[in-house]
Symmetry: C2
Subunit: 335 residues, 2 copies
Amino acid sequence: MKLSSANIENHLDTVYDAIVVGGGMGGLSAAIYLARYGLKCLVIEKGRGRSLWMQETRNYLGLDPSTPGRNILTHGTKQAIEWGADHLRAFVENVTDEGDTLAVHVKIGKKNDRSYTLRSKYLVAASGVIDVLPELEDMQNVYDYAGYTLHVCMICDGFDMWDQKAVLIVKREAQINAAFVMNWFTPYISVLTHGHVPVSDAMKQQLADHGYPLYEAPIARFLGENHKMSGVELEDGTVVEATTGLINMGSIYHNQYLKGIEELTWDGENLITNTMTQTTHDRIFALGDLKQGLNQVSVAVADGTLAATQIWRNIRRASEPRKWEENVPKQTTAA
Amino acid sequence: MKLSSANIENHLDTVYDAIVVGGGMGGLSAAIYLARYGLKCLVIEKGRGRSLWMQETRNYLGLDPSTPGRNILTHGTKQAIEWGADHLRAFVENVTDEGDTLAVHVKIGKKNDRSYTLRSKYLVAASGVIDVLPELEDMQNVYDYAGYTLHVCMICDGFDMWDQKAVLIVKREAQINAAFVMNWFTPYISVLTHGHVPVSDAMKQQLADHGYPLYEAPIARFLGENHKMSGVELEDGTVVEATTGLINMGSIYHNQYLKGIEELTWDGENLITNTMTQTTHDRIFALGDLKQGLNQVSVAVADGTLAATQIWRNIRRASEPRKWEENVPKQTTAA
């Protein structure tokens, strides 16, 4: 069922089996499985996740490579609700451990927002990341290319850059090292630091050894039309010719709401999980981009399967077995 | 490219980067990724795998739950070939380790079959399992219901059995324990041993305690119409009423071709793998149902992603980096 500020009051006494924070690829997969295990679950989605920006889903078995991420999200959300999941558009501010339950504190609405607390036995953290994009005065100019010919994931889209002139846009010096992986796909790499970092002499030498020019001036705008890049104009007037590129400026993690849970173990911003995606907190699972490993749709979807299955096992094992009562010989009971 | 006995001779000198044994969900996902990493790969598919029998794909994000497995296989095979993978319909008889390469010995064709040897740097074992089905004189009667209302996977289809009268068909006593998991979905469980096993008194008592009747006579035929079961008729004339059921008679593993590789480590018929699906042989990866873990489409698809990515990393790291030659200052070379 779709929840909103109009009907949320009826659900404040519910203890969900699982609340899934994030309605992206991993979260929706978890919700579909949880619902089909007959468990009471709620997906809380803030909107504008990474997969919403995917213009094409290149490598996911079963879908045409031209399928936009938003289509999968719409389809999966509908599916989860049809199987019985609840779905709420809200922002998760904080999670607190109450012992038997986890309290999920949310804010609904942008203007005049209101705060509510929802409760569950298990939490599935599937709130993912978004990519840092270069900040230009005209952000629409970035959106015109990002996700089309200007990529944010080398594994997903390296193939589509094959032997093209490409820019690699970074924010920190260490991110320049992506050039020495990206050159598997194309050796025609120009590195742009967008004025962010001084680059060490050692890195400059390594780039020169590979023949990859380095441009340290800030980006003025991306050139091209119909989402097809033709180059990048820098603020010093230089035009770097490129028909494709990779933005490798790091990620923003949506994990702040978990920072107060002491039992969790972090590797940087990623949660440490076991083979069933369970974190070091017994009742918190982490999926996809929030945990260690590859940031790929297929991995997040499988993670959802694993988390939901482990939660089902835990809840099932703690439940009384259902008997075929009418078949059981009547027992004499003391009144 | 589609390979067959008509053009295979041209590929006997090829050393593939990876040969994928099995063109099911995991194998096709691996092939799509391998091809998009620009690696030379060949999928060898014998046909009639487990996912071909799936009449509906219930839990896989992005697809309608009514999607038959064969549609995904057809779509994925076409996709892999379009990205550059080779595909061969053949049966893999044996794999031998030649040091730098693995030799994959195949048989093409059913009548007048011919044997060939293909070679690769890496092997992806994605040949999966098939379910053991009850053997009746009229197997078409089994196929009329198996995969429709008579299921082989409780995780996939338990939800669709909810509170219905269901049969649990087993071959060994230990398989009866599935009843005590299946009762999460329905308590109206009749256990059929199809005359296969004597059942211990302890198990009989446990079933009686739950009110689950046990029928030890062989199955004569499944009753119903249009793939919808209404019951099971036993050879002793008993009719067991049931609108759904689970066949839990074990699996046949397609892994014989790997049994000569000494470095592999087995857990029963499953291969032990690391987090990237690499077996204990450096150049052999195992996916989906062949490895330990859940037998789910989403897991096999993610496994394909992981195997292909690790193979790409290994091959890339062993390759010379590509330089932007025209930018590199000309070096004086001694003639």
